[in-house]
Structures are given as structure tokens and as C-alpha cells.
């Protein structure tokens, strides 16, 4: 007949702790923390310096007024408690414990003047300097925490933007067009042995005009294609353009009866 029973409360007895050879009968009075919570408590600190600052602040005194002996006792008591409870503790804490012990023991010795002029740095001064610097940084951290922050105290105000203005056209000077043509011509003459013949531009332009004026399935007489305002040269150009279009198979010329009007129409793809 099994009976569920609560496991007996683990009573953690703190064994005798020796600090600097002197046994500590009891933990400092301010260590109220139940042993199970000690790890959590210690976790709240950002390392031995942070922990020391906590111990100093609790005494409500300036860092420079610190009684190192008392501080050492408190510090070592916590560290020993952690160690005895087999709780993991960063090595930094042990190094600090050793440093504190050294400072405390030095304080008991008479000050020995070094032989040379150089000053030997007092480890106590060095420690206090570090504590002060770290305290400043903690103040700085508080200043940053106190700042209004984007995404917490204020948010970006952003409203719908208008459409982007149309992209402007790049400038294309005539010179660039001409140099491009020259470049094409240069390449063509390098590439090909036969001379590419070019008709006068006016004929080419007229060919475009004629193609535009002619509608599929509709025939116009040659005279329809002439412009009254144009000179004889105009007639010649139109005639040459028409012949060129015939040659390129773009238009057909039709004459339904002898001496009848010459009809010009777009070549029908189906015929």
C-alpha cells in the first residue's frame, strides 16, 4: 500500500565556513534568502562588481567610505554559501573573493615605502576606481532606460505618400544621334565588303509617308500621292519612293486598263 508522501524538506545546514582562517559562525544578518532562492538571487547580478555595488548601496554610503573588511565578510559569506550548496558560480566571483581577502590582509600590514620613486598601486584604490566607474556606467544605463524610445513612447507617424512623379526623360542631343550613326557606319564598313547603298534620305522619308497614307485593301492613284505644294523634285521623290517600295515588295502597282490611272496599294499578304 503505497502512500504518497511529500519528500522531507531538505534542510540545508550551512557547514562551518572559514574566511581568512577565521570561522564564520553565521551568515551576515542581511542574508535572509532561503538557500533555494540563492541561485536566483545571485543570478540577478551582472557579476562580482555589480554584486559589490549592491552590498555597498545597501549600506547607503559612498564608495570611498567603504569599510573593506566588512564588505569582504559579506561578500565571502555569499560566495561560500553558493559554493557549499554546490551551486554553480562564475569563476569571476572567486577571483574577486581572493582580491578582497588580499586587500583586507594588506590593511593590517604597515605601509612599506617602495625603494624607488614609483608608486605601487594600492589594490584597494584600484578596486574602488573600478567600482566607481561601473557605478557611473550603471547610471548611464539608467539614463538610457529613461529616454523615450521609438516603438514604446513614440511611434513613427507615417501617412500615405503621393505617387512618385513621372520619371523625367533623359536628354538626347542630336550630336549623340549622329555619332551613333557614324559608329554604326564604321562598324558596317569594317564588317562587310560590299558597300551598303543608301538612298537619299528624302526618298526614305517619303517611303514612310506613303506607307502611312495607304490603307490596307485601298488603292490610291499616283496623283493622289503627290502634294500640290511640292515642286517637280517632290514628284520625282514620290516616284522614286514608290519604285523603292515596289522593289522591297511593300506595295503593288495596278493598272486596270491601258493608259488608265496607275493605282498604288499595300501589297496584300495573301496574294
Amino acid at each position: 500500500m503505497a502512500e504518497l508522501t511529500a519528500a522531507p524538506q531538505q534542510q540545508v545546514e550551512l557547514p562551518l565556513v572559514k574566511v581568512a582562517g577565521k570561522p564564520i559562525e553565521k551568515l551576515p544578518e542581511d542574508l535572509y534568502i532561503p538557500p533555494e532562492a540563492l541561485e536566483v538571487f545571485m543570478d540577478a547580478f551582472e557579476g562580482p562588481l555589480d554584486f559589490l555595488l549592491y552590498l555597498i548601496r545597501r549600506q547607503n554610503i559612498d564608495i570611498l567610505q567603504v569599510d573593506v573588511a566588512r564588505l569582504t565578510e559579506q561578500y565571502v559569506a555569499y560566495v561560500e554559501a553558493m559554493r557549499l550548496l554546490k551551486l554553480e558560480l562564475a569563476a569571476d566571483y572567486l577571483v574577486m573573493a581572493a582580491l578582497l581577502a588580499e586587500i583586507k590582509s594588506r590593511a593590517l600590514l604597515p605601509v612599506v615605502q617602495a625603494d624607488d620613486e614609483e608608486e605601487v598601486e594600492d589594490p584597494r584604490t584600484e578596486l574602488l576606481r573600478r567600482l566607481q566607474e561601473y557605478e557611473k556606467i550603471q547610471n548611464g544605463a539608467e539614463h538610457i532606460r529613461a529616454r523615450p524610445e521609438l516603438g514604446r513612447d513614440f511611434f513613427k507617424a507615417q501617412i500615405q505618400a503621393p505617387e512618385a512623379a513621372p520619371r523625367p526623360h533623359a536628354d538626347l542631343p542630336l550630336a549623340e544621334l549622329l555619332s551613333a550613326m557614324a559608329e554604326v557606319m564604321r562598324r558596317v564598313s569594317f564588317k562587310e565588303n560590299h558597300q551598303v547603298a543608301y538612298e537619299p534620305l528624302s526618298t526614305r522619308a517619303r517611303m514612310s509617308d506613303l506607307l502611312e497614307r495607304l490603307k490596307p485593301g485601298q488603292f490610291l492613284s499616283f496623283t493622289d500621292l503627290l502634294e500640290a505644294s511640292e515642286s517637280k523634285a517632290g514628284v520625282v521623290v514620290t516616284f522614286l519612293a514608290t519604285l523603292e517600295l515596289v522593289k522591297e515588295g511593300l506595295v503593288d502597282i495596278v493598272q486596270t486598263q491601258t493608259f488608265g490611272p496607275v493605282q498604288i496599294g499595300l501589297r496584300d499578304g495573301s496574294t
Binding site: 501617412i159 512623379a165 523625367p168 550630336a175 558596317v188 517611303m207 514612310s208 506607307l211
Partner: protein, 194 residues
């Protein structure tokens, strides 16, 4: 306990500015805890109030199908739109050569251009030239596939300050004496031949 009018207006205004999309009445109401939530009617009144407070400012409240949102004032859209305007794109060498060929050899098909340039002409180039209204299709060549025939336009002449294509220097001249011609072409309105 109801929130005072001015605080309610401030909250709604801030929420609409913080959210980058239109907000429905429901979503606006969702900001408030039960005891402070305004009625839909009061919300509407607040929105109307905000709307009229935008008179002459750089933004205005707009009601769309999905709710309310702030947009920039239309009267300054042209200025603000410049912020996103892309810089003019330079014309590629291929584009300028294609345009030159169409100008001198029109009407031509894409195939004609390709056979002269010795490389294929991208559709992008033809599209740009057509969008720019510099060239257009004037017919189709009656060969298999009926390829489009391209020619330059009046806008092309206008752009380069030409009255007619005749004013473009003849090809032999370009080949022989480009520097001189370019000097002349710098003043397009003078016309090459006139």
C-alpha cells in the same frame, strides 16, 4: 468613464498616423479598454472633427472602403512626389544606334536593323522608342511573318529641332567629317541644310 474629447481626438489621430494602412471603425474602437471605449457615433464625430482640422495642412483624412487613413494633401502631391522620382535614365548605345538607323533607313523592320548592327535589337529598346513617340509602326513588310516597318515621327523631328529629315546630314558626310557636323548639330534650330 468616457475620455475627454481632446484626448480622444489625440488618440485617434495618433493611431491613424502610426498605422500604415486604413483603419476601420472596429479597429479604432479596439484600441480602447471596455470602460473607455467610445461609441461608434462618437468615433465618427471625432473623425469628422479631425478631418476638418486638416484644413490647409500637409495631410488630410481620407475614408476608403477599408476605413480611414491619412494621406498627403493633394495640392502638394507634385512637390512630395519628387522625393521618389527616379533620375532620368541614360539612353543606351544600342538604343541611340537603333534610333539613328530608323531615322536614316526608314521604313525598316527590326530584322533590317539587326542585320546592319549585327546584333539583335531588344524589345525593350523598341518599346522605349515608341513610348518616347520617336518611332512608330507605319506598316508591315509583306514577307513571311509580316514584320512591322518602323519610321520616325514628327515628335522625333521636334525633339532634335529638325523641320524635316532632309536636315539630317547625309551619311557620307557623317562618315567623313563627324567633328564639323557635330559642331553644327549643337545648334539644332539652325538646321543643317537651310
Amino acid at each position: 468613464m468616457a475620455l475627454p474629447d481632446n484626448q480622444l481626438r489625440q488618440i485617434i489621430e495618433a493611431a491613424l498616423m502610426a498605422v500604415d494602412e486604413p483603419m476601420s471603425l472596429d479597429r479604432l474602437a479596439g484600441i480602447f479598454l471596455d470602460h473607455e471605449r467610445p461609441s461608434p457615433r462618437r468615433l465618427r464625430e471625432t473623425l469628422a472633427d479631425i478631418e476638418s482640422s486638416c484644413q490647409g495642412r500637409g495631410f488630410q483624412l481620407l475614408q476608403t472602403a477599408s476605413g480611414w487613413r491619412f494621406v498627403t494633401a493633394p495640392e502638394v502631391a507634385d512637390f512630395v512626389g519628387r522625393l521618389w522620382q527616379e533620375p532620368p535614365r541614360k539612353y543606351s548605345r544600342a538604343l541611340v544606334e537603333t534610333l539613328a538607323l530608323i531615322a536614316y533607313r526608314q521604313p525598316v523592320t527590326r530584322g533590317d536593323i539587326e542585320s546592319i548592327r549585327g546584333v539583335s535589337v531588344s524589345s525593350g529598346i523598341m518599346r522605349t522608342l515608341e513610348e518616347r513617340s520617336w518611332v512608330r509602326v507605319v506598316g508591315h513588310k509583306e514577307v513571311p511573318g509580316r514584320p512591322a516597318l518602323y519610321a520616325t515621327t514628327r515628335q522625333f523631328l521636334d525633339h532634335f529641332g529638325l523641320q524635316s529629315l532632309d536636315q539630317l546630314p547625309p551619311i557620307d558626310a557623317i562618315e567623313d567629317g563627324l567633328p564639323d557636323l557635330l559642331a553644327g548639330a549643337m545648334e539644332p534650330n539652325e538646321g543643317t541644310n537651310s
